[in-house]
Subunit: 283 residues, 2 copies
DNA sequence: AGCTCTTATGAATCATTGA
DNA sequence: GTCAATGATTCATAAGAGC
């Protein structure tokens, strides 16, 4: 255990995920959003869990997550198979099967589709432009607030060939916390429910830490699966993006990371984040 | 065995998939593109394989597919988990694991993302807007012609991450066989390689037969993984969409289906299809 | 030709009804 | 009860009509 930094509505703990989780009370967390390290043969990368041992490594952690999650809570897992020797690794498939066996309900699989994937050229594949977003729950009935993530109707969005004119200066890039902003400007338009594909650009200007998801990603699930004042947990906090989304939308945040540097970044970003107020916060 | 209708470059056989495949010579097929029936509890739907028995049902068929495929060939499997009792079924996960164990190389997973998914509203999920497109091969080296499916730079890569991109789903027209169409109009532009996400609208024109994927979907893989004159197999021909793509691009087609009505439709659509000529055929 | 408006419909899911 | 069939819900396309 390294140290604990705890402020009002924020609790970042540095240490081994499994050990720290044991300190968390039963059924105290409303939502878990996380992106665990990928399986990798190289030991010196973040995490560095070997593919064959990945499921065995993750399952005890998942058992703790199942314990600390409230009955109506959700667990959103962002993950993607990497390629070894020209093949996709299968540990993700096995993980989902074992999580279900452990007691998690595999409610849905959302997708994160990236319009601007990392460039590159290979002879046997194209650029990888998507990742899994598995949605697990403890019970068949869980809190879900669909109206908070509605999007402008297709007709309206499409006819705005001049969209750039209207929202010229407001880049809806991931950094700008796309969802919920400019809500007032849309109030008189027709809204529809979204589908299970999140189309979000990768953030390019990160601070040097390994590629994290854009803020809009945890933001979407936080609005969808939790209320203001609820507690959101990220057991692999990384650069603390989940925490940023929490502060923006008035959720309590608990982050865990084994690296002191990541904890420092997570805390710094949380402190730098300004909560959304009034119309700008849709939920 | 029902009957065999064979013309030049077209061979549609009605009968049980597993039995018919046994008549096909070893390593005679260049590419397999198919969308098998989904697992379902209801007996009277197409196929009607129960989820628990799905993998056991499919594996012997896959073994035949492995046998008839040429060493440098590809197998593209379109499938999607359906929901039962509020959870996604897991037979697809098990199937991929078993196929790999059988000897298939899981090279890549492409996605079919639909801008126009089936409508509906439910309390625990949104509309399902995507399906799997697993890419299996026999060996690490297989034929792949990336330059044939390049896309214009402006349409894709440029506007990435903007507001309009996020809410306006950019789509290649399915009915017009989007890929390769308007090729002349693109000649003077810059091209870039695509990513592993296919954005294709569901066709709603083909009524009567159980609507399959849009023509542009097999078209993309046929151009990518086969040459003109090659033999393409669809062991679950359904409405014969794969055959249409074959005739358009000068590939030989073998289709198998257990229902006489589907075979008739497959043959009729093949006959109605006009091969692309000159500039319009990119490959 | 374009442009607007209307209409039909699709590998879905869930709750309800009927056997 | 368990299982199977029916109806309500919902929206991005394409096609067709009208101007």
């Amino acid at each position: 255990m390294f140290r604990i930094v705890s402020e009002e509505n924020m609790d970042v703990r540095c240490g081994d995920c499994l050990e720290v989780l044991k300190e968390v009370p039963d059924e105290s967390v409303n939502l878990i959003v996380t992106s665990p390290p990928y399986a990798d043969r190289r030991k010196n990368t973040y995490g560095g869990i070997e593919p064959d041992k990945y499921v065995a490594w993750f399952l005890p952690i998942a058992a703790e997550l199942l314990r600390v999650l409230k009955p109506d809570g959700s667990f959103v897992l962002n993950i993607k198979e990497n390629v070894v020797d020209g093949q996709r690794l299968t540990y993700v498939l096995n993980l989902v099967l074992e999580l279900q066996r452990q007691g998690w309900r595999w409610t849905e699989e959302y997708l994160w589709v990236k319009p601007n994937p990392f460039p590159g050229k290979w002879s046997t594949r194209f650029r990888d432009a998507w990742e899994h977003l598995y949605h697990f729950t403890k019970s068949a009935e869980f809190q879900m607030h669909q109206e908070r993530v509605m999007v402008p109707k297709g007709d309206w969005a499409k006819k705005q060939g001049t969209l750039s004119e209207k929202f010229h200066h407001r880049t809806e890039s991931a950094t700008g916390s796309g969802f919920g902003r400019n809500h007032a400007a849309w109030l008189d338009r027709d809204y529809v429910l979204p589908d299970n594909v999140l189309r979000l650009a990768v953030e390019s200007r990160n601070r040097g830490h390994s590629a994290a998801y854009p803020v809009a990603l945890p933001e979407w699930f936080i609005k969808l699966f939790s209320n203001q004042g609820d507690l959101v947990l990220d057991p692999f906090a990384g650069s603390g993006t989940t925490g940023v989304a929490c502060k923006m939308h008035g959720r309590k945040f608990m982050g865990i990371d084994i690296h002191q540097q990541n904890c420092d970044i997570t805390i710094a970003r949380w402190k730098d984040t300004v909560p959304l107020t009034g119309k700008r916060s849709a939920a």
